[in-house]
Symmetry: C2
């Protein structure tokens, strides 16, 4: 991409969350973004990087947990230490994205940041990239710009973005004003949203001038803003670790949606680019089945190079990172996740309940497998 | 038991078969009779021994595969080497029981043998033992005596015994002539059998004078009879191993039912004692569920001391000999068998199809887990 405005663009990849609904494949020590969940040969975070680097060049920052530093370095050797932000403890998205904004602001106050989660599956890549370029242009006009996904069904699992009038910015022909962000709706409301044509899915993607991000953060979460700016001041100095260790634990835990996006939308500062690419946040094993269609008529998807699976009258998905023989007989839409120390057996219809299992295991002290 | 006739009684426990329908719990290297499948604290073969030793004292012989010698010795330390018959290769039941009969005949031609498979679950033990004592009395009157199980439903999975007139032997008040043995019937025939009141299940239990067993074996399978008598002649001598190694592999493979029981019944030499005890040959995982009722209202049976099982809206049976955490969500009547190198996931309704899985795995060369 050779749009000159991209010289100001710096991609940020927040890589947090353990992907509890994908347990025991995804877990605290090996969250989902470190796995190749689509059979593409790339892990989710690697695919995210590869989607953004044609736009951002070497200007890609990753914000992740301290424990995942080595794995991220190994999967993304291009990332310099200056652009690898390691959190001593999880502080939700406002602290992660706010710190990235503050660091980037100190390096160059004209930077336009684009924040894209590490665990999303998107295609075609070119359509996504075109939307990002439009978003950068709209951001340069002084907006916080989200990319909203054109809904393909009335999902009750996502939040929605209500679109308003065209923004009318050069280089961003599809940009619209955002009237409001709305929480996950019930089914009837979701149907109404989709039929109206006025709503897009909120995929949590934000492109914005770092200065504008910080301005809204200061207005809504002054303590958080002051904290990340203090850490940012020390970031490219020898005091980085000491200051971060002192300040980070004290920061409030809040999502960027509440700390910035919603109040900024209320203030009329948010725009949206409609995204006509496919998008999946691989929220559960049912999603994994969708993203990995069965290779043959049997209707059974097997993920795992060394899996030895025997199937008789069964369909669904098997994820294996062991060498065990697995025999499946007579269950439709089954989900089997076979790991060395934990086994999940459920069905696609119950994929959302995996989170409850993890919570119950935690309550029972089975933390060694979480 | 102090019936004086029991001084002539010698129990024989054929312990063969791998229990393919219980794979991967039961397998070639660790067949089902070596497992505690009922949660009683005893393995199936240990429970079989404990059921018979009050009748037979130390006169209990086990016939099993060479590979299982160490496990049987460990589980039944009371068995002397003279009474542990190890087969170099499986030869079906006629060779196993015939060799036992021939060895016992050479030690004492008046011996009454009783053959009881190693993998059956029976109760109450006292009711079983009373039936055996009657069978010994009927055998002493010159019969091959089977113990037939009073059918509790029209099973199509068992063969049946058609009973005739009372035998009229002292000490065996319930003994009847056997008119014929019949193969596994279809459902309608099974219903007719059960309604008639004339049929019992054939549980493969035989009590007979060893001389009479050998007489029928010689008449019907002369080559087999000559072979086992040659091995028996060398059994209690230093030549045992050499002769067994030479002769055993040449013996025909045939079930005792065809080699002795059916022709003897046609000759009018077979009697039956009706058994009013419960009896299960633990043929598949559905049987395992019946024998191990769920401990609580959840309807989930867990077998395995160290299993860590989390259940949400699921019922059925989990057999685990690993330390893995197992989470089960939303499947009714599920069957999970979790072993270090193989995993089975199916339902109780499909329990019989496990055999097909094992055959398919064999055909695919996955013999390391069979």
């Amino acid at each position: 991409m050779n749009d000159p405005l991209l010289a100001r663009f710096h991609a940020v990849i927040p890589a947090g969350g353990t992907g509890t609904r994908l347990w025991p494949l995804s877990r605290a020590a090996a969250p989902k973004f470190l796995h190749d969940l689509t059979g593409s040969g790339s892990t989710l975070i690697r695919a995210t990087y590869d989607r953004l680097s044609p736009l951002a060049g070497e200007r890609v920052m990753v914000v992740t947990g301290q424990a995942h530093g080595p794995a991220v370095r190994s999967q993304l050797p291009e990332i310099s230490d200056l652009d690898l932000v390691l959190e001593a403890e999880p502080k939700d998205s406002a602290a992660a994205i706010g710190l990235a904004a503050a660091i980037l602001f100190r390096r160059d106050p004209d930077t336009i940041m684009g924040s894209f989660a590490a665990d999303q599956v998107i295609g075609p890549v070119e359509v996504f990239q075109e939307a990002v370029v439009e978003a950068v242009h709209a951001a340069a006009a002084g907006r916080i710009v989200t990319i909203g996904i054109h809904p393909t069904y009335p999902s009750t699992g996502f939040g929605y973005i209500r679109c308003g009038a065209d923004l009318g910015v050069d280089g961003a022909p599809h940009a619209m004003h955002v009237i409001e962000f709305v929480e996950k709706p019930d089914e009837q409301v979701a149907k109404d949203y989709v039929e109206s044509g006025e709503y897009l899915w909120n995929a949590g993607m934000f492109v914005a001038p770092v200065s504008l991000m910080l301005q809204h953060l200061r207005a809504n979460e002054p303590e958080l803003a002051a904290g990340v700016e203090r850490i940012a001041a020390a970031w490219d100095t020898p005091e980085r670790d000491a200051v971060a260790a002192e300040v980070w634990p004290s920061l409030p835990k809040i999502a960027i949606d509440y700390a910035v996006a919603e109040p900024a939308a209320a203030a009329g500062d948010v725009a949206v680019i409609p995204g006509h690419f496919t998008w999946d946040d691989v929220g559960d094993f049912a999603a994994l089945g969708r993203l990995n269609p069965a290779a043959d008529a049997s209707g059974m998807t097997v993920i795992g190079d060394s899996a030895r699976v025997y199937v008789d009258g069964a369909s669904g998905i098997v994820v294996s990172d062991t060498r065990r023989v697995i025999a499946l007989i007579g269950i439709e839409d089954v989900v089997i996740v076979d790991t060395p120390d934990a086994l999940l057996v459920t069905t696609k219809d119950h994929a959302q309940q995996v989170k409850g299992a993890v919570e119950a295991l935690k309550a029972h002290g089975e933390t060694d497998v979480l």
